[in-house]
Amino acid sequence: MVVFEKTKGLTENELHYCPGCTHGIIHRLVAECLEELGVLGKTIGVASVGCSVFSYNYFNCDMIQAAHGRAPAVATGAKRANPDNVVFTYQGDGDLAAIGTAETVHSAARSENITVIFVNNAIYGMTGGQMAPTTLPNQVTQTSPYGRDVTVVGYPVKVCEMLSQVDGASYLERVAVNNVANIRKAKKAIMRAFKNQIEGKGFSLVEVLSTCPTNWGLSPKEALSWLNENMEKYYPLGVYKDKYKEEK
């Protein structure tokens, strides 16, 4: 009896992510959900620009690689082109909460019937560790070398809280993948987000707190606890909007 094996939702390609980067776990959870829902054959994934730009090599479904920040708009087009396709975007914090803020807010406002997987690791990974909109106060990065000074560069963006004020948003949950229990919860949230789409309930977004050992300057193991001690404080886990659950 197989307890655990690789999902068919992922291709055979090896992931390019750094050792211990939890992007890989999030990829797997999305892939597992798509496989278990039996929708891989009608799923169109939209990759963004950042460490996860190569996700079009990893998800075992048709993919479109979008310009930085524009994945929700591309996904809007793809979904409107074939409404019975399952359309998702996979975006990092720079992509979704910096350059793509307008696309994020407005695809939510339109309650676009898509699923957004938002990976928040508080840094720009691909380009070598610069400050992101979600970089924590005092957090040192390549472009906040003395620690993020909120009096100078302002405060991190709390996406779930922000979008919870957007009426079009149907389901918003923040999860983390820094331990097995959290990973199980994260999968439930991702599954819920995809089911929402399949049931035509509009815009769903799952914000997944994730590690970046390389640019946090920590070992993969230390990064797990840093996330817990620092990110979970600033970004509390939980459901921030569940329009249809409230109705039940």
């Binding site: 708009a73 087009g77 793809a78 307008a102």
Partner: protein, 356 residues
């Protein structure tokens, strides 16, 4: 021939797009093209199509990328500043080898510029407004009828060669009303096995992508695309000749400027000036051969444009500077009058004009 209907350019173009099988339009308000969006918002719901006003021109072009990736005809329209915003998306359409139609109803620039007509986005359209090696099929209507006909043509060429195409109109084309026949033009159906329709619907996995970290592969993609541009340059050039048989001066003008020049030429002929015109209809592919041929007969060329001098460079290049090339332009939204063009022709005849 369907009987003629009096229509505004912007609306005639929108109706033509629908007749050409475009069921997806994403727009954003900007003068002088907003009627395209308004018209689409009325018509699309009636035909089961999709109209969406996006949060920005950037979002709109990216929605087009989403639809085009799924193999469906789609369009966006804007005016000059909005086209600047869409330029990255246009570069992505080229890089991803996606067909789509982009409409630019030009206004005065740069910056916020003005809202009167202009042709100052010629370079932006034909020399690449976005980054990277790519060409944009550029069609320049000179009448409301051509706003219809070139829309059919634009969709067809885009699908045929898997490239983005642009209708480069201007405020007059968009705003003026002219009788137009809405004959259903040619609507070819092109197979799109590459489209992201879901792996249920095709072999293997389709990925729409313009990224490659391998320089050799990126070069291969670029070279492959340029082979298609060569075929486009060989087979798809469109231009009109007017009174060129015995012409000694060849006027070169497109769009509304060519309409003004036609009046000027008719009057100048009465004054004994042997002048004709070559009107490019496709700005890419540019009618180089026609100009080269003309340079063997005429004494000089006069490029007349609504800008500070852009297409004139291409005229000189096309004829390898074989003959003198002059330029006359108004900009900022000012239209030249036929008399101004005639005055310029007279200066050329008297050898008083300064070469470009």
């Amino acid at each position: 021939m369907a009987d003629k209907v009096l229509m505004k350019g912007n609306e005639a173009l929108a109706e033509a797009a629908i007749m050409a099988g475009c069921n997806y339009y994403f727009g954003y308000p900007i003068t002088p093209q907003t009627e395209v969006a308004a018209y689409m918002s009325k018509r699309m719901p009636k035909i089961g199509g999709t109209f969406l006003q996006a949060e920005s021109e950037i979002a709109a072009i990216n929605m087009v990328i989403g639809v085009a990736s799924c193999g469906k005809r789609c369009m966006t329209s804007s005016s000059s500043p909005g086209i600047s915003l869409k330029s990255e998306g246009i570069s992505y359409l080229a890089g991803c080898e996606l067909p789509a139609l982009i409409v630019n109803v030009q206004r005065g620039g740069p910056g916020l510029g003005g809202i009167q007509p202009s042709q100052s986005d010629y370079f932006q359209a034909t020399k690449g407004g976005g980054h990277g090696d790519y060409k944009l099929i550029t069609l320049a209507p000179a009448s409301v009828q051509e706003m219809v006909d070139l829309t059919f043509k634009g969709f067809d060429l885009a699908d045929k060669y898997r490239v983005p195409a642009m209708i480069l109109a201007d405020g007059t084309m968009g705003q003026m009303m002219e009788p137009v026949s809405l004959d259903k033009g040619v609507v070819n159906d092109y197979a799109k096995p590459w489209a992201t329709t879901g792996t249920n619907n095709h072999e293997g996995r389709n990925v729409i992508n313009s990224l490659s970290l391998s320089p050799a592969q990126l070069e291969e993609w670029n070279i492959g695309r340029y082979e298609r541009y060569k075929i486009i340059e060989r087979d798809e050039v469109m231009y009109e000749e007017y009174l060129m048989d015995d012409a000694e001066i060849c006027v070169v003008a497109f769009g509304i400027a060519s309409r003004i020049c036609k009046n000027a030429i008719t009057e100048a002929r009465k004054k004994g000036i042997k002048v004709g015109m070559i009107r490019p209809i496709t700005l890419f592919p540019f009618p180089k051969d026609a100009l080269k041929e003309a340079s063997k007969k005429v004494k000089s060329f006069l490029s007349v444009e609504l800008n500070m001098g852009q297409m004139v460079d291409d005229v000189k290049l096309a004829i390898d500077c074989a003959k003198p090339v002059y330029f006359y332009g108004r900009t900022g939204g000012v239209l030249m009058t036929p008399d101004e063009v005639i005055a310029e022709l007279e200066k050329i005849e008297k050898g008083e004009a300064k070469q470009w």
